[in-house]
């Protein structure tokens, strides 16, 4: 007899459509509403459908849409990243990894290699977990979403994309097509760091993405952007801290105080990964470390 799996872990009977254009995918999503689910790498949605965490009658595969699998980097124009591009293509591209190091940091630690071979940054964003590794990095690197829908295309900053755990601004029939990152200048650096109790392969207890630009002497912060993961119901942009950092000396004392300010913004829950007080403490430590790392990278550019 063939091996049988327990019904609870088998995927239910479901339809599959591999769209070959954005318009075709939008048409399917608009017609089927929340009974259709988009699949890029599938590393979240297949597990969620199997375990009953999300429901669907139709899987719309968006890896066969050429526009969504393309990515291009031009130092003058920035990075254009199709929403279905798997993580390994990002950190595997030396120029992209050097220009957008926080994005590279995150794409290198989402799951293990097997996951990174399939999982996309677009999918990590659309899964909209408060603990997602890519989202603080995307916010720090100022990424913008291109969303296609039945009435055309619109642009939304990543910082405004997620709305609550597992939810985002995508309406019926809408699809995340691509992410666009601004060009990177001299003396800019970025870092994504997370805390997990293991070495690899775990969900962030806390994650911090930062980007900053130093002045011409490399001693003062000219601009900064931060975002925090797993300390609020959605990935949390922290513009207050970014604004406070402007004009401050790029020193350990500044980065320590920025950590205190990040702690003050954190409103985490207690769960199996850690109690709220622990997360508040960690977000300060990780903010200080991420800023230190970003400043070191900025000095090399």
């Amino acid at each position: 007899m063939p091996h049988r799996r327990g019904e609870s872990y088998a995927l239910k009977e479901i339809e599959y459509a591999a769209a070959t254009s954005v318009d075709e995918a939008v048409g399917l999503l608009a017609a089927r509403g929340d009974k259709a689910r988009v699949m890029a790498g599938g590393t979240d949605i297949i597990v969620q459908l199997r375990e009953g965490l999300r429901d669907a009658d139709l899987i719309v595969d968006v890896k066969k849409i050429p526009e969504m699998m393309q990515f291009s980097y031009d130092p003058a124009k920035g990075l254009h990243l199709g929403a279905s591009v798997p993580c390994y293509k990002i950190y595997g591209d030396e120029k992209i990894a050097a220009a957008y190091p926080a994005l590279a940091d995150a794409s290198r630690i989402i799951g293990g290699w097997q996951i990174q071979s399939r999982a996309s940054i677009g999918g990590n964003l659309c899964n909209s977990s408060p603990a997602a590794d890519s989202i603080p990095a995307l916010i720090a690197q100022d990424a913008k979403c291109t969303i296609a829908g039945p009435s055309g295309r619109r642009t939304v900053p990543v910082a405004e994309f997620c709305t609550s755990p597992g939810r985002n601004v995508l309406a019926r029939g809408e699809l995340l097509v691509a992410l666009d990152f601004p060009p990177v200048g001299k003396r800019e650096g970025a870092r994504y760091l997370r805390f997990i109790p293991r070495n690899e392969m775990d969900i962030a207890v806390v994650g911090v993405g930062v980007w900053l630009r130093l002045n011409e002497k490399d001693d003062t912060i000219a601009a900064a952007r931060l975002a925090l993961a797993a300390v609020a119901p959605k990935p949390l942009a922290a513009p207050e801290v970014g604004t406070w950092l402007v004009g401050k000396p790029a020193t350990a004392a500044t980065f320590a105080e920025a950590g205190d300010r990040a702690r003050a913004l954190a409103k985490p829950i207690s769960d199996m990964r850690g109690p709220a007080e622990y997360r508040v403490h960690l977000v300060g430590v990780m903010t200080t470390r991420a800023l230190t790392g970003a400043a070191e990278r900025a000095m090399k550019r």
Binding site: P2, R5, E15, Y16, A18, G42, W113, Q114, I115, S117
Partner: protein, 161 residues
């Protein structure tokens, strides 16, 4: 009843065609339809790596790939690692180094190691631990596996020179 799809693919160098439902994972197709039972079902949710296969040059968890997705792809499973008469040096080093106990994780480790050494022929211990983090072993404590991978890298380097 959802219609079955016809899928054409290449597995371990041979053209293979199969019929599957959209709900079937590549792992289910390999094990239940094609009777390639080397890839193991551990967690069935992408954590353990026991079902690792190489899909178009990169390692994936076959439990998180749908059978219908692999149309036109090239797949290497654990069954495609050895030749008819000889174990692959990776397998030989795992055997000689006793880098396994119960063996359920071993096919996944061997396939992931093949992918690692194809991409990085001379990995450091840190590289090995990092790249094989998606494969879990509850028996060995990993040290013997790391040493077997280092030994295999050395043998493969020697074979090339």
């Amino acid at each position: 009843m959802v219609k079955k799809s016809h899928v054409s693919t290449t597995i371990n160098g041979e053209a293979v065609e199969f019929l599957c439902e959209p709900r079937q994972s590549l792992l289910e197709v390999l094990r239940d339809t094609l009777r390639l039972t080397g890839a193991k079902e551990g967690c069935n949710n992408g954590n353990c790596g026991a079902c690792t296969v190489i899909l178009d040059g990169v390692p994936v968890n076959s439990c998180l790939v749908l059978g219908v997705e692999v149309e036109g792809s090239k797949i290497t499973t654990i069954e495609g690692i050895a030749t008819e008469s000889h174990l692959h040096p990776i397998q030989q080093c795992f055997l000689e180094g006793a880098a396994l106990q119960c063996g359920v994780c071993t096919p996944g480790f061997i396939v992931a190691t093949k992918a690692l050494l194809d991409h990085n022929p001379n990995p450091t211990e840190h590289d090995i631990r990092f790249e094989l983090a998606g494969n879990l072993c509850r028996c060995t404590g990993y040290d013997k596996i790391i040493r077997a991978v280092q030994d295999a890298a050395a043998v493969l380097q020697e074979n090339r020179s």
